[in-house]
């Protein structure tokens, strides 16, 4: 292990320590907020909260059964989808458009709207060239708050299902969303946005800036950039553009809300969105903050904090394995980069390893760490080019997304996915020792098992179905740059990123084509709503059961042994569904390059 790998892994431990140190108090706060307890913040935000309930025609005490909760979620998703899609298509006629950008075509608008409504944040077009300030702030930023809030609502519904005594009630969807936005996401985002703006992330409504180039360049007849003295040059370019806009406010919530959609096409690799090592650090630790706090909140909700810590331990083990793998992979340059020693890839006076697609201020190690976090957490933002990673480096993001939002996962959806796997593990463990399965005092019957299975299998099925459609269609084949195993990796990555609600992209894929927009948009909606519906049904079934007394014969779900079994099941399900596809993509590419 080289010194740089060691230093990066130490840094990873520091990142993890900071996240956990913040997630513990946040978990306590989350439970207090979502259970409607009085807090210091209630004095300021309480009137706003109650005003919203009056406008919506709902009450905090009006708790819902799982079917009404799900209906509310689906109706709300439909309203957001239609509202955002309409806004994006009409942006040419709306204010806040200093660059006079036209409205998006219907297929692009559908894809982008589905993407932000489902917390995926896949972007078929670059923000700075296609989206007005209005679309970014009033359209996308709003969904960056609402989609994690909806996820948090579902997670709390599931937790309440495990706790309530036979009432069948799992909470009020609209109340949950309001509380999550008002008390948790908005204050945190405000803080992070202000630090970001102080560090250099633009936050303004004035139009793009035009600046003088110190060395003018020229373009040829086709518009390609060439040297000024090139005989093909037909026109000199003396100025450059600096895209501005309300970026800091969008960047803060894209990280906190596990969204990931950048203001600019380059996302957090752009020095405008991520100008300094401090912003890079804060944005990176902001990704797992809410998902980890939810996992710990789970222990508090069920009245046994060891239960939350056990799930947290399982997540940290998987995350650690992924971090080590991606850091080691990126610390080495490919033979194509090392070029027989004519390129220096060591660590003296520069970052060692694979600098392709990495920013100098961030370096190789912190870029690799970000990649592990952003895909484990279902965030999808990037501070480096994913396609610029080594083949084995891209394997880690693919596996993390493909496992289906269990390694932290998206806000709320991650905890729900983890509970789905846990119910499965409880069932398997109970069968092995011949006991009737129960989890936290609630009996696990056939209905619960059906729902848990849907939660576990649905994301992988959606991903593989999407990958099949993309690979078999001529449009998919024409969209990949290089073809071969790498071309397949690009399509598989897109299908995985959409179905897994991650949103990161392996660049080079010409993704803004009607068929790809529709397939991926559909995948995003199914990959989110099917597991959520199953989670709510599971919550409803559990909520209508009376808790049973636990005795000495009850299986412990907080022991290291159970955590190990949970890990085995997560890895087994992931391996069985994804290994064949992975073998055709990154693995084939790695071996083709190595031998």
């Amino acid at each position: 292990m080289s010194a740089d790998v060691g230093a990066t892994l130490l840094l990873a431990v520091a990142y993890g320590g900071v996240v956990l140190a913040c997630a513990v108090p946040l978990s306590r706060y989350l439970v207090a907020v979502m259970e409607g307890r009085r807090l210091g913040a209630t004095r300021v935000l309480g009137p706003v909260e109650r005003g919203l309930y009056r406008l919506m025609g709902t009450k905090a005490t009006d708790t819902m059964g799982w079917k009404r909760f799900l209906t509310s979620l689906l109706v709300f998703t439909a309203v957001c989808l239609a509202g955002l899609m309409g806004l994006l298509m009409a942006q040419g006629a709306l204010p806040g458009n200093p660059e006079a950008l036209p409205g998006l075509p219907a297929d692009t608008a559908f894809n982008l709207a589905a993407s932000f409504v489902t917390n995926t944040d896949w972007q078929p077009v670059a923000g700075e060239t296609h989206l007005s300030y209005f679309s970014q702030a009033v359209g996308l930023t709003v969904q960056n708050f609402l989609s994690p809030a909806a996820g948090i609502a579902v997670a709390f519904a599931l937790m309440r299902g495990l706790v309530v005594r036979g009432t069948g009630k799992v909470g009020n969807f609209f109340v949950d969303v309001v509380r999550a936005v008002l008390y948790v996401l908005l204050p945190l985002a405000l803080l992070l946005a202000l630090v970001g703006a102080a560090e250099g992330i633009p936050q303004t409504f004035q139009g793009y800036e035009t600046v003088q180039l110190l060395e003018p360049v020229a373009v040829d007849a086709e518009g390609n950039v060439v040297d000024v003295d090139d005989p093909a040059a037909v026109q000199t370019v003396t100025e450059a553009v600096v895209p501005l806009g309300p970026q800091a406010s969008q960047v803060a919530i894209k990280q906190l809300g596990t969204n990931g959609g950048g203001f600019n096409g380059a996302n957090s690799a752009s020095a405008l969105e991520n100008p300094t090592p401090l912003t890079n650090f804060l944005q990176c630790v902001a990704m797992p903050l809410v998902p980890f706090a939810l996992i710990l909140a789970f222990g508090r909700m069920v009245g046994d904090r060891r239960q939350g810590r056990a799930l947290m331990a399982a997540v940290l083990v998987l995350l650690a394995v992924g971090i080590v793998a991606v850091v080691v992979a990126e610390s080495q340059a490919t033979p194509q980069l090392a070029a027989d020693g004519s390129v220096y890839t060591g660590g003296l006076g520069q970052a060692a390893g694979n600098m392709e697609g990495k920013e100098v201020r961030i370096g190789v190690g912190a870029s690799a760490l970000w990649m592990a976090f952003t895909t484990a957490i279902a965030n999808g933002s990037s501070n480096a080019s994913l396609v610029g990673m080594t083949p084995m480096g891209t394997l880690v993001p693919l596996v993390f997304i493909g496992l289906g939002e269990v390694v932290g996962g998206g806000a709320g959806t991650g905890l729900a996915g983890l509970i789905g796997f846990t119910v499965l593990a409880v069932f398997v463990a109970s069968l092995m020792v011949g006991r009737s399965p129960q989890y936290l005092g609630k009996k696990i019957g056939p209905a619960e098992m059906r729902m848990a299975t849907v939660m576990v299998v649905a994301p992988a099925l959606v991903i593989l179905a999407g990958a099949v459609v993309l690979t078999l269609s001529p449009v998919g084949a024409s969209a990949v740059g290089e073809g071969g195993p790498f071309g397949f990796s690009q399509l598989l990555y897109a299908a995985t990123s959409a179905g897994g609600n991650n949103g990161s992209g392996l660049g080079g894929l010409d993704a803004n084509l009607p068929l790809i927009n529709l397939v991926l948009g559909g995948e995003m909606l199914l990959g989110r709503l099917i597991p959520m519906a199953a989670a709510l049904a599971l919550a409803g079934h559990l909520a209508s059961r009376e808790p049973q007394a636990s005795g000495a014969a009850t299986l412990s779900t907080a022991s290291p042994l159970f955590v190990t079994l949970l890990l085995v099941i997560i890895v087994l399900v992931g391996a069985l569904t994804l290994l064949p596809a992975l073998a055709l993509g990154p693995v084939a590419e790695q071996f083709a390059g190595a031998f």
């Binding site: 309203v79 946005a193 409504f205 600046v211 800091a248 690799a269 340059a333 980069l337 694979n354």
Partner: protein, 202 residues
């Protein structure tokens, strides 16, 4: 699930969507912009380096440099098609490379860049070229290079500008930022700032 609960949910959903749009889409960005305009106006408007009324660029956006007397940055894949000013003149913007570092095409590009860099730096002979000079960054407009990549170019810049090697190193040192607390980020040289100082503008 019945018609009445769907209708009731729809009213709540529309109201919540509208309220969130005002709160998170209008008030929140305006509040951040308002504070930023007062507290950090330069940062909030793109960190533009302006001298005597001329805007030379953003400290956060790299530019293509290949001049004899200039410090070179990361290779850029410049694009003049995406943006134009009011008169229709093309404005430069950048994109990522989007090539797998394990692909042959990438290998060919690196070989070409190595040859171009070495041809311009005969004083460095066969010394290995620092990796950031032959790789494209994630954004395609990395404003920085590593201290190693800057040091590699000192001899050429000194010869072309008539400055001493120590003078050039001094300018580079003034434009170098260190890792935060010695642990976060990498040491980096702001290429635009170095070149503005070399040209006597800054």
């Amino acid at each position: 699930m019945n018609g009445k609960s769907v209708a009731r949910g729809a009213v709540s959903a529309v109201v919540l969507f509208a309220a969130a749009t005002v709160l998170c889409g209008v008030l929140y960005p305006l509040a951040v912009a308002g504070v930023a305009a007062v507290a950090f106006p330069w940062q909030a408007t793109g960190s533009i380096i302006e001298v005597d009324g001329v805007k030379y660029g953003s400290a956060l956006v790299g530019q293509p440099f290949r001049g004899e007397g200039h410090l070179w940055g990361r290779p850029t894949l410049a694009d003049a098609r995406a943006f134009a000013d009011e008169d229709g003149a093309p404005l430069l913007w950048y994109g990522p490379e989007n090539l797998s570092p394990a692909s042959d095409e990438f290998g060919e590009r690196v070989a070409k860049r190595v040859a171009a860099v070495r041809a311009a730096h005969p004083d460095q002979g066969d010394a290995p070229v620092p990796s950031d000079l032959v790789t494209v960054s994630g954004s395609g407009f990395d404003p920085h290079i590593s201290p190693a990549a800057a040091e590699y170019q000192v001899g050429r810049i000194a010869a072309a500008t008539g400055r001493s090697v120590e003078e050039v190193r001094g300018i580079i040192r003034q434009c170098t930022e260190r890792p935060l607390l010695g642990a976060l980020g990498e040491a980096r040289v702001n290429v635009l700032k170095v070149n503005l100082m070399l040209d006597g503008i800054l």
